[in-house]
């Protein structure tokens, strides 16, 4: 009887392990600091996670299709710098679509290399991480980019505005999460993404145009990056060339924390959102209990390793096994 109960507990953990860990974690920090679950703090965490979150939503498509995208950090810097520069040259209503087009052109280029030329995505996007950084610096001439008239533009609404008391970045993150959940879970395209990531050969043998599906995942990823760049630029109305540096790893961490397999074929947008929130609340919680911000780098890593280990352990039913 107790054995039965243990088994059902294990299988529940295997399916929803990350959600359970998240709840336990929230309870722990709430006990440590009463302010942790206050509305202000929660909204604050989601708002500061929104940029990371928006990028992670797009990368989820790439990872489910069995590829990686390490270029999103430097691509986000590019979007931010471009939209700030064009803001003063073309005006915000032209700058935004122009920036989206340029960012998504980069995504299309990556999608072409990985999808149609079938190059390894790790190598392509690692290279693009560096190449896009160079592109950004070339574009800006290495200087920081600032909007001249910071108080007189409606452009600030995307980063600083609020509707019914909810910050606009949070709304954009939420809206995008819902739309992308529906696309991945409910449309034929979403099904094809899972098939290509689960077994690309079988997908081809079922008449699924694998190259086009992979191409589209990078288009979606770059669209999300452009959105993140828009929020970032609008929030600060000025930026360094390196604003997105290192974010690609946080993004990947969030996607993995959500339980997507790096081998492809599994993961959902909703789980990625949970992964993003876990990362956000860990970093916030550590600050609230009085630790220095740099401790979070170590703790985040430890939590990711634990999450991945427990995930595998729950799937195979024991903590260690001689075979995988």
């Amino acid at each position: 009887m107790a054995d039965e109960r243990l088994k059902s507990l294990t299988s529940m953990l295997a399916r929803h392990g990350i959600l359970v860990a998240f709840i336990l974690f929230m309870i722990g920090f709430t006990i440590a600091n009463q302010r942790f679950l206050g509305l202000d703090n929660v909204l604050g965490v989601i708002r500061s996670s929104a940029i990371l979150g928006v990028m992670a939503l797009g990368v989820t498509f790439v990872v489910v299709s069995g590829n990686l995208d390490l270029s999103v950090g430097s691509m986000m810097s590019f979007s931010t710098i471009v939209v700030l520069d064009l803001h003063d040259k073309l005006g915000p209503s032209m700058a935004i679509p122009a920036m989206f087009a340029m960012t998504m052109a980069l995504g299309a280029f990556i999608g072409f290399l990985v999808g149609y030329l079938k190059l390894n995505s790790l190598i392509v996007t690692l290279g693009m991480l560096s190449a896009i950084h160079g592109l950004t610096l070339t574009y800006s001439g290495g200087k920081n980019m600032d909007i001249v008239d910071k108080s007189g533009t409606w452009f600030s609404v995307f980063g600083q505005g609020a509707i019914f008391g909810i910050p606009v970045p949070v709304l954009m993150f939420g809206l995008l999460a819902v739309v992308l959940t529906v696309i991945l879970a409910k449309t034929p395209f979403g099904r094809k993404v899972y098939a290509v990531g689960g077994n690309g050969t079988a997908a081809t043998f079922s008449g699924i145009p694998r190259a086009r599906v992979v191409f589209m995942t990078y288009i979606i990823s770059s669209f999300c990056v452009a959105t993140a760049g828009l929020i970032q630029a609008s929030r600060s109305l000025g930026s360094q060339n390196t604003v997105g540096q290192g974010l690609e790893l946080d993004v990947l961490a969030a996607v993995i924390l959500g339980g997507a397999s790096l081998l492809g074929g599994s993961g959902t947008v909703f789980k990625t959102v949970i992964g993003v929130l876990i990362l956000g609340f860990i970093q916030n919680g550590l600050l609230l209990v009085g630790l220095q911000f740099y401790v979070q780098y170590v703790v985040t890593w430890v939590i990711i390793i634990l999450a991945v280990w427990l995930d595998i352990a729950a799937k195979r039913g024991r903590l260690w096994s001689p075979i995988a």
């Binding site: 034929p188 050969t201 081809t204 043998f205 079922s206 699924i208 001689p322 075979i323």
Partner: protein, 503 residues
């Protein structure tokens, strides 16, 4: 008669997984020098039993004895150290390393400072290779060997320990007939040296050639043992599936209609050359030949996975160009590929999603996939093909081979193709499901499909085909009607004897 101790004995082995009692008190023993065939349908518990024996699973109950001493197998390495060695269907060799390094992988002999002692490595390996009558040297790189020779390396690896029992799991799956003979010689040699052999296979002819005793598992239970010399295929089949099957019988032929697909002078580089044939609707045409004769490559060309270098393809009398599987599907050509797990299915997906994959873009309500439409298709073909699965939500990877194959067949039938190509329809599938799939193929012809069956199993080709095309080295050697085809003239044809010159 001297009372002999079994080399290996399993007693009352129980293993349960959530919801399944995979092994229910299985007992089984192998005497030294015995070649003991272990049979059972897919899902009968053979693989689980072997994983328990190999230390990959721990049994919930029961004991393993080696030379009558109880042992526990902690890990695959542990099992090997105790003298139980596996020769797997899928080879686990490091292709980049030499034969000798592979034989002693993980236990290379060393000299001072941990340096590899190459001299003794090579001389020890050479001794083992000699015992197996292998023609290659210990220095050969494994990647350069044929599949058959790679298997020899696996066997050589087994002989580095004092093996009490060697388990062969479907060892002939990718061997040619000549290579099989060599393998059987080695198995006989090993048994003469007093090693107990467990031989797992679905192929009755092999089991009756090589084994001395046959044990049968069904639904996780031990169903009994028979001495090979005193039994026959019918008795074994009956024990295995609980009813008798008539596998030898030729199925009834259907009425054939007009030509559905015609191939004229098709060539593809060095893979096949100047191939012409016609398939009528309501007809099954079997392609028989050795592995590498170009049969699969022709199928892949018709399905748009390869571009022909010359020749034309005609559907219903009109020439068509097929550049991709999408084109092929649009023209009504479907392919059930030879590698079910690698090419046919997304194992991590559920049954329904696999079945509807090629047409998911058409099963929509507005922009979304329609659950109802998908389930309707799944239900229809589950009933039509008698697919056994608890629900459409079941992951395809958890089904038995026969049911997996039916999912792939259902996937294409639901697209209402004109031409159905089935490549190795029953590879790795147990006897019961095999005859079901044969009957299914005949039924499809009766319903008016044009069916192409590619198979390396002669009884299968003879049983399902209305006409048989024999291929050798990328060329069609001869076409037989079902009346004129016999095992003899088919063997002659595919061995490269140009019967047309004789005729």
């Amino acid at each position: 008669m001297i009372a002999q101790k079994p080399a290996l004995r399993l007693e009352g082995i129980v293993k349960t997984f959530p919801g399944v009692r995979a092994l229910d008190g299985v007992s089984f023993e192998v005497m030294p020098g015995e070649v003991h065939a272990l049979l059972g349908e897919n899902g009968a518990g053979k693989s689980t039993l072997m994983k328990v024996l190999g230390g990959i699973y721990q049994p919930d109950d029961g004991t393993i004895f080696i030379d009558e001493a109880p042992v526990t197998m902690g890990s695959p390495l542990d099992a090997k150290a105790k003298g139980v060695v596996f020769i797997h269907q899928e080879l686990s060799l490091a292709d980049e390393l030499s034969v000798a390094e592979n034989i002693y992988l993980g236990e290379l002999p060393t000299k001072s400072f941990g340096r590899v002692d190459w001299d003794s490595l090579h001389s020890n390996s050479a001794a083992i290779l000699k015992r197996l009558n292998c023609k290659f040297t210990p220095q050969t790189i494994v990647g350069d060997l044929s599949i058959a020779n790679k298997q020899m390396v696996e066997i050589a690896r087994a002989l580095t320990v004092d093996a009490k029992a060697v388990i062969f799991d479907e060892p002939t799956a990718s061997l040619t007939d000549a290579e099989k003979v060599v393998l059987f010689d080695i198995i006989s040699d090993l048994s003469r040296q007093g090693v107990g052999i467990v031989y797992i296979s679905h192929r009755m002819d092999e089991i009756f050639t090589i084994s001395t005793k046959i044990s049968v598992l069904r639904d996780g239970e031990y169903r009994g043992s028979l001495a090979t010399a005193e039994t026959n295929e019918d008795e074994v089949t009956q024990l295995m599936i609980g009813r008798s099957l008539d596998l030898g019988q030729k199925v009834e032929h259907a009425q054939t209609g007009k030509v559905a697909i015609e191939v004229r002078n098709l060539s593809c580089g060095s893979l096949y050359h100047d191939v012409s044939f016609k398939v009528r609707s309501g007809e099954v045409v079997g392609f028989y030949g050795l592995v590498g004769a170009g049969r699969t490559e022709i199928a892949e060309t018709l399905f748009g996975l390869r571009n022909p270098t010359d020749g034309t393809i005609h559907l219903d009398g009109e020439e068509v160009r097929i550049h991709s599987p999408v084109d092929a599907i649009r023209h009504g050509i479907s392919l059930v590929p030879e590698d079910r797990k690698g090419q046919g299915l997304v194992l991590g997906m559920n049954c329904r999603d696999n079945m509807t994959l090629p047409q998911v873009a058409d099963l929509t309500a507005g922009p979304f996939v329609s659950d109802g439409a998908e389930i309707a298709i799944f239900d229809q073909y589950r009933d039509k093909l008698a697919i056994k699965t608890p629900s459409w939500r079941q992951r395809v990877g958890n089904l038995s081979g026969g049911n997996q194959q039916k999912i792939v067949i259902g996937k294409w039938l639901s697209m209402a193709p004109k031409v159905l190509i089935v490549d190795e329809p029953t590879r790795g599938i147990d006897v019961g499901s095999k005859s079901e799939i044969h009957n299914l193929i005949r039924d499809l012809a009766k319903q008016g499909y044009a069916v192409i069956v590619i198979s390396s199993e002669m009884p299968e080709v003879l049983r399902v085909s209305d006409r048989v095309v024999a291929m050798f080295h990328g060329e069609i050697i001869r076409e037989f009607t079902s009346e004129e085809v016999t095992e003899d003239n088919l063997v002659q044809a595919i061995s490269g004897i140009r019967s047309d010159k004789v005729a």
